[in-house]
């Protein structure tokens, strides 16, 4: 694993001695790793290897049972649930495997919801700018269900970036796509993460995009 810490000597994410056990299952031991700002990373592994678990642990949506995760220098295992929610809203954006939205809200409102629920200032101008950069501005008043699959994928990226997170987590964003679209989505994530100053941590078993990453954690 290559490290280049010129941008910020402190790692963005620092995982030490982490393990997790679900009820009635054998524990998953995660390798130690660090991820630095601007250094996009892929967490790869077969299904069932605990990739998603690791992502949800980093996002603070699963309680750390043993070991240590430092995000932006903070030991998140010590956070209360409330502090964790706040911290996640503040610093983390997530692109989920399936692009799903709040169905009662329009495209633009879903992006603004990304700001609102993260506890950030609601700003429809920046939300529109985000939609524009993703080619969705003309769709802003539509309902998410009226968008095509590709548009929905882009909207979920817009929503994740709406709160201006430092970390962009993506959970298997390409697995269900054909080669061409997988490549497109990968490029989109990297481009948008760069444009918004976010570091991408992508969880996937998709071998097709593996070659794009220098920074890979294998489970």
């Amino acid at each position: 694993m290559e490290k280049k810490g010129e941008l910020d000597p402190k790692p963005l994410v620092d995982v030490v001695n982490l393990s997790h056990q679900f009820d009635g299952q054998s524990p998953i031991q995660f390798p130690d790793f660090q991820c630095f700002q601007g250094e996009h990373m892929m967490i790869s592994g077969l299904s069932g290897s605990g990739k998603s678990t690791l992502l949800y642990l980093i996002a603070g949506m699963l309680k750390v049972q043993s070991g240590q995760i430092k995000v932006l220098g903070k030991e998140i295992q010590n956070f209360s649930r409330k502090e964790m929610d706040q911290f996640r809203g503040e610093n983390v954006g997530i692109v989920f495997q399936k692009a799903r939205f709040i169905s009662s809200l329009s495209v633009l409102e879903n992006v603004i919801a990304g700001q609102y629920f993260a506890g950030k200032q609601k700003d429809s101008k920046s939300a529109e700018a985000l939609l524009k950069s993703l080619g969705l501005l003309q769709m802003k008043s539509k309902q998410p269900r009226d968008l095509s699959g590709g548009e929905r994928q882009r909207l979920s990226v817009a929503r994740a970036l709406a709160s201006q997170p430092k970390i962009l987590l993506a959970d298997e964003p390409t697995s269900s796509l054909d080669d061409q679209n997988a490549e497109k989505v990968y490029n989109l994530l990297v481009k948008e993460a760069n444009a918004h100053g976010a570091t991408l941590i992508l969880v996937s078993h998709d071998q097709r995009i593996r070659s794009h990453f220098q920074n890979i954690v294998s489970l």
Partner: protein, 392 residues
Amino acid sequence: MNVISIGYKNLKASGLRSVLTLIMLAAGVSLAVLLSALNESVDQGFKKNIKGTDMVVGAKGSPLQLILSAIYQIDNPTGNISKAEAENLAKNRLVDRTVQLSFGDSYKGRKIIGTSPEYMDWYDVGLESGRVWSEPFEAVVGAQVAAETGLSIGSTFHSAHGSDMDAEVHDDVDFKVVGIMEHSSTILDRVILVSDQSIRDLHHSEPGSEEEITAMLVRFKNKMGMLSLPRIVNEQTSMQAALPAIEVNRLMGLFSVGRQVFEIVTILLLALGGISVLVSMINAMSDRAYELALIRAMGAGRSKLLVMILTEAALLGLFGAVFGIIFGHVAQALLKKQMMMKYGFELNPLDFTAFETALILGTVLICVLAALFPALSASRRDVFKTLKEYED
């Protein structure tokens, strides 16, 4: 964007389910509104017409019947009493004022009352036009009678014996309208007043026979009258004394079973509304489990989720209550005319009461309480599990 606008959009998006719950809530609330307005109207109607009448004397019989016939003109009289005996009572030092009433005839279902112009003073009712009666067979008609029968100054009509629409008509004599009373929302709106001489002439009382009247309204000088006069009348005369305040309370007591049934139905409807909110919210929470987990993932805490869901329920309650109040008032507007015509009770569909404000708050509270359990369980649901469940 805030919890209120999101709650509203969620309600809108849930379509039929919200509509059904709204209908339940609105039905309960509108029934409560209508019930309270009818109660108020009946109470007011009875109280307004008691005004200044401390005691009614008439022939022996049911005291309630005497009150209903002499004050409200909604029952048949108990019989006749001697005019001399009544006048003797009127001289008692505890009596302030009296007014004599002779009735038993009608025109198109409207009671004709033989009395003196003091009867109009009794209720502080003046004339809209014309003058009071002075000669036999001159009549002054109530505002509502004039409006409904088309009688106007100068019109003539025949009276009929009894109060039925198809009663025997005295077609040998014509009454002539000389005045029309102003609208007062009292019993005077619905009656025709003539001199008591006219009534006697109508029934061809033999000259020299004892003069009779039907009833006499009595106003006491002070509370002492209330204590002693009714007993004196009942024990020492052939007449009966009835106290309207007591009889009306007794009548209200008879109604109270019916009122209670309505009250129970109203409470049941509101409770059903609450249950409907509960069911609707449980369904909504399970339908939107993924969305709610998504919102948590975006950084919203449990408490924000809780507030959001409860706000949605509160909005449902608010809309239900507001629609209910609107329907309740529309129903009042529809019933207004009939209530007035049949019973002389007034409904004011444009009056909004403090009870209705309480009803809105109560409905909102019921909805919030009903949504509390689904909201708590939804806000505590495991985010990771929910998201994974829907992705696999």
